[in-house]
């Protein structure tokens, strides 16, 4: 008990946490880098399969409609192209940050922050 320690261990801890926080501010860029990498990886995994599945599922639905209504091969052809369109739409939206099949332009005051579509011309 030679040094002048604050009597309350909690306030001492608080000081230590503050000091550690202050030290962490300098390490901010690497943290941001890691989250960019994480986001990039997850995006890659997302869109990799989006197009393929859209086409396959849509063609499958078309095939089923044909079987059901006996309109072979038109349902399959039309649904195939629609599947391509839907898949591309999904990929495009995933890449531009406009997620999900919604209207093309989100309102500017949208609360979903940190997606960075402010400068996006979509």
């Amino acid at each position: 008990m030679s040094e002048s320690t604050p009597p309350d261990p909690l306030s001492r801890l608080g000081q230590e946490i503050d000091k550690a926080r202050a030290g962490r501010v300098r390490r901010q860029p690497p943290v941001a880098d890691r989250s960019t990498l994480q986001r990039g990886l997850s995006l890659g995994f997302r869109i990799g399969i989006e197009l393929v599945v859209a086409v396959v599922v849509a063609t499958g639905i078309g095939w089923a409609i044909d079987r059901w209504l006996g309109t072979r091969p038109w349902g399959m052809i039309v649904l195939f192209f629609m599947g391509v369109a839907a898949g591309m739409l999904n990929v495009y939206r995933a890449v531009t940050g406009v997620s999900g099949p919604v209207g093309f332009r989100p309102p500017a005051e949208s609360s979903t922050g940190a997606k960075g579509w402010d400068d996006e011309d979509c």
């Binding site: 990886l41 859209a54 849509a58 649904l79 839907a86 898949g87 999904n90 099949p101 093309f104 609360s111």
Partner: protein, 243 residues
């Protein structure tokens, strides 16, 4: 000595406790066992980890708090305002997939998420749930989701079906992504393992690659759980805010 390589053998479901109710096979299988282990482990981690409620968290409490904060943060940034209501669901989903994926990497265990029916069941719950939430929040206004803004009416004839289709495809992409990644990864591990076993001394080469792929699989396991959860958040955001 010939070693038979059957890389798909590992995905076989076999009953541990056979149960048949009125011609319905509801046996307790190895897949169900791994799911049970995953659920028990998550519950143990959360309940035992937070039991002490120490101000300065110990190791287990740290892990529990970290996973909590990770998911809470993910919902905050991706689902936006009002998303926190669905924290329990997203957290459960994330932890279950994460633990199932990680447990699958333990030798002689079973890759639950490599069964399309498991991932599809998870995805369809998300899909139906999100749709119902959207309808509850917005009523028929939810259908505006499928009508792009600022488009000539003639084009809507073409665009609305496409929007509808791309909405209905969601459960498929969500489930196939997880299932395909797990299936491919584990098949590859088994094939390389089979090589290593069958070519004797030179087996050290595929063995080394196998070890690297295990590292890759750890990444994929975590990332796929993350992607599944983050997409759930994005879909929730659509239903909540309609953009």
């Amino acid at each position: 000595m010939a070693i038979e390589i059957q890389p798909l053998e590992q995905f076989k479901i076999h009953p541990i406790i056979p149960i048949h109710i009125g011609g319905l096979d509801v046996s307790y299988t190895n897949s169900a066992l791994l799911m049970t282990i995953a659920v028990v482990m998550i519950t143990a981690l959360m309940v035992l980890g937070t039991r002490k409620r120490a101000l300065v968290p110990g190791r287990w409490q740290s892990v529990a708090e970290m996973s909590y904060e990770f998911v809470a943060d993910m919902i905050e940034t991706n689902a936006g305002h009002g998303g926190q209501e669905f924290f329990p669901f997203v957290f459960t989903l994330f932890m279950f997939i994460l633990f199932a994926n990680f447990l699958a990497l333990v030798p002689y265990s079973y890759a639950v998420t490599s069964q399309i029916i498991v991932t599809f069941a998870l995805a369809i719950v998300v899909f139906v749930g999100v749709t119902i939430i959207g309808i509850i929040k917005h009523g028929f206004g939810f259908l505006r989701l499928f009508v792009p803004q600022g488009v000539p009416p003639v084009l809507l004839l073409l665009l609305v079906p496409i929007e509808l289709l791309s909405y209905c495809i969601r459960p498929f992409t969500l489930s196939i992504r997880l299932f395909a990644n797990m299936l491919a990864g584990h098949t590859m591990l088994a094939i390389l393992g089979g090589f290593a076993a069958s070519i004797g001394l030179f087996g050290i080469l595929p063995m080394g690659i196998d070890i690297l792929i295990v590292a890759l699989e750890v990444l994929v396991a975590a990332l796929q759980a993350y992607v599944f959860a983050i997409l759930t958040c994005l879909y929730l955001s659509d239903a909540l805010h309609l953009h």
